[in-house]
């Protein structure tokens, strides 16, 4: 293709330069967290920018973190909650978004607005009533409580974004499906869902972040040792009078990894969705 050649080498270089520069801005603080998490306390303060040397290398932070709590179990809890909640948000959210974007029925706009209400008030405000509900149903200190809350919390945004994307799915395609005798469910699951996979991956990533990083609901609904999440576990080291810097940095570094892995998993899905050619 001829015109593509016009994207000249120098322009490509400029694009790379800009992206590298911004990537550095993004990564620098993370990099700083990582290098200092393996340094001794004195070195953190005396020379925060220095890479750990043989002299300043110190794993005391990680040792403290691993000794203090059962971090493997915390990770497992965070993983279960995050993955199950995302799955539910995606499924329920996509179904509702499809109903709203595909069908004209009375109350459609109203329903759209109703489902969007949730992004307008922080769910944290409902804490007391939510907690009372969980106490009444015996779900306090279970991961189920967290999954329910996060699913409810994620649905509004999922519906909002997915219905926007579903509107761009071609009507001809769906009508062709109908003529072929596909049920509405089949049209949704077999025709539409594959087409909005990039959007689904996007929603998954957005939903995952507040869930993984939430401190409040684990603290209120599931503070027990058996149901503690990573973020809540890391918070242990930020005290009132003593802040254990090594441990905080180590715990924070450990907490970055799983979320990065999750992101990469979805990110590949996103790319696959795009490159499969389904969109075109």
């Amino acid at each position: 293709m001829l015109p593509r050649a016009r994207i000249s080498f120098s322009r490509m270089a400029l694009v790379h330069l800009a992206l590298v520069a911004y990537a550095l801005v993004s990564l620098f603080p993370v990099f700083l967290t990582l290098i200092n998490s393996v340094k001794s306390r004195n070195a953190i303060f005396r020379n925060p920018m220095q890479l750990p040397t043989a002299e300043t290398f110190d794993l005391v932070g990680y040792a403290t973190v691993l000794k203090q709590g059962d971090f493997a179990s915390y990770f497992q809890n965070s993983m279960i909650v995050t993955v199950v909640a995302i799955a539910l948000v995606l499924l329920f959210g996509a179904m509702a978004a499809f109903a709203l974007s595909e069908y004209r029925f009375r109350g459609n706009s109203l329903m759209g607005l109703y489902l969007a209400l949730g992004i307008m008030i922080p769910i944290r405000l409902g804490t007391v009533a939510i907690l009372q509900g969980m106490v009444a149903t015996g779900l306090v200190n279970t991961l189920t409580a967290l999954i329910l809350v996060y699913t409810a919390q994620g649905i509004p945004l999922a519906v909002f974004i997915l219905s926007e994307f579903m509107r761009t799915v071609s009507d001809d395609l769906k009508n062709a499906g109908r003529i072929d005798g596909l049920s509405e469910y089949a049209i949704f699951f077999r025709l539409v869902l594959p087409l909005v996979r990039p959007a689904m991956a996007t929603v998954a990533v957005f939903t995952m972040i507040p869930i993984w990083n939430d401190l409040w609901f684990p603290l209120i609904l599931a503070p027990g040792e058996a149901t503690k999440t990573v973020t809540l576990g890391a918070q242990m080291f930020i005290g009132q009078f003593v802040t254990n810097w090594n441990a905080v940095l180590a715990a924070l570094s450990l907490a970055i990894l799983p979320v990065l892995v999750l992101y990469l998993a979805f990110s590949r899905q996103l790319i696959r969705g795009i490159t499969s050619g389904a969109v075109k």
């Binding site: 040792e225 930020i238 009132q240």
Partner: protein, 419 residues
């Protein structure tokens, strides 16, 4: 709903729940606390000491971060899912919990006789009739200094305000060390380590505090404005960029030997002992002129009470009696030097710095923080306003007089002293 039915439901309904594994005959008590710093001391010393004597009762210490403690605890208490034992903030915050029926009276708890009225005052109703938390510890304000730096520069701890500033000038002139490690970023440092630390000297401790509650003194009176004026002068002796210096920054500046003086609470001792590589000393807030009575803030800081909805009230009371015992006082005060036992039985403390702090009780008049009792019951909250204004004074945003006026206006808007 009782705890056992909750546990039953929990087992029945939740596929993921792993709790409830405890044996049926064992009672498990959960302690709510903001002292996550103390987790290891509870796990390694206090709980084993208690469990050894009380088979059948297990204790779980379950702290949350101090900044979230009040909000999280209140939500859990309202919904009925809070732990059996509640660590009590002093004065109004806990009184409110008692008034709402979340805490129970501990008047007839065996062991309560070990505490004086003063010790109990932070957790007793206004009429003095009911005490609802077992007092655990108090903290004392003062200044901790780096002895090595003082020796190097040939300095001695100051007794008067003038000596104090002369001392700061000398350290500043030397230029190698930051005279004083304090920042205003976290606000409370300026209020607690600054205003409440030096203030009692000027408002004459309990005398001024009670007059303020009675309405015979105002925050705009000289005794209350002067500490702000002194505080405003501190500005020149703080490190560069103190406006953005956080409390942990201050601690690290001092414990890494870069600053000479740390306006402190006694609770720092434990941390500094483990982190500082130099000798330390302490001096009480300097008086105005030599020979004046000195005043210190000896503030009841932490207690522990019984959740009114606890299903294990008997076991919990057994634990509270243990907390009231001299044995607990000994373990606590020596594991956490700087948290001074409120128990009438004197505790022998090993730590020299802690001994220094507690020795001021002999020569100085103790008082509690001026904003804690009664005066923080309304909106705007006097304590929180004091944080903001103390930082404003040091930062130069408000003059001492403006700050005092703002505080008094805020107080006047809701507080009517009893006639």
């Amino acid at each position: 709903m009782t705890r056992s039915t909750i546990r039953g439901l929990l087992l029945a309904t939740s596929v993921l729940a792993m709790a409830g594994a405890a044996q049926a005959e064992d009672v498990t008590l959960t302690v709510e606390s903001w002292r996550n710093d103390d987790l290891s001391i509870w796990q390694e010393k206090i709980i084993p000491a208690f469990e050894a004597k009380n088979p059948g009762i297990k204790v779980v210490f379950s702290p949350s971060a101090p900044t979230e403690y009040n909000a999280a605890l209140n939500a859990k208490l309202d919904a009925g899912s809070a732990g059996d034992l509640i660590t009590c903030r002093p004065f109004d915050a806990s009184l409110e919990l008692y008034n709402k029926g979340h805490l129970t009276s501990l008047n007839d708890l065996p062991g309560m006789e070990n505490f004086s009225d003063v010790a109990r005052s932070a957790w007793t109703t206004d009429d003095g009739a009911t005490t609802f938390c077992v007092p655990m510890a108090s903290v004392i304000h003062g200044f901790i200094y780096n002895k090595d730096i003082f020796d190097e520069l040939g300095l001695a701890p100051p007794a008067t305000e003038d000596e104090f500033f002369a001392l700061l000038d000398k350290i500043k002139a030397d230029g190698n060390y930051i005279p004083m490690a304090m920042g205003t970023k976290d606000l409370w440092e300026a209020a607690t380590m600054g205003y409440q630390n030096i203030g009692p000297t000027y408002w004459k401790g309990e005398e001024g505090r009670k007059a303020l509650i009675a309405g015979t003194q105002k925050l705009t009176d000289e005794g209350w404005v002067e500490p702000f004026r002194v505080l405003a002068k501190w500005k020149d002796y703080l490190g560069d960029g103190f406006e953005a210096q956080t409390y942990p920054d201050s601690q690290n500046l001092f414990s890494l030997g870069r600053a000479a003086i740390f306006p402190a609470g006694s609770w720092e001792i434990g941390l500094f002992n483990t982190q500082a590589q130099f000798n330390m000393g302490a001096f009480p807030p300097p008086v105005k002129t030599a020979g004046d009575t000195c005043y210190i803030s000896d503030h009841n800081d932490i207690g522990i009470g019984l959740n009114a909805k606890s299903a294990n009230a008997d076991a919990a009371k057994t634990f509270l009696s243990f907390v009231a015992s001299p044995e607990f006082a000994d373990i606590y005060a020596n594991s956490l030097p700087g948290f001074f036992s409120l128990n009438s039985t004197a505790v022998k403390m090993e730590d020299p710095l802690a001994q220094e702090f507690v020795s001021w009780r002999e020569k100085c008049q103790p008082t509690i923080r001026s904003t804690y009792q009664i005066l923080s019951r309304g909106t705007p909250n006097l304590e929180n306003e004091t944080w903001t204004e103390s930082a404003n004074v040091i930062n130069g945003i408000d003059t001492p007089e403006e700050a005092a006026k703002k505080l008094q206006d805020g107080l006047d808007s809701w507080y009517k002293p009893a006639e």
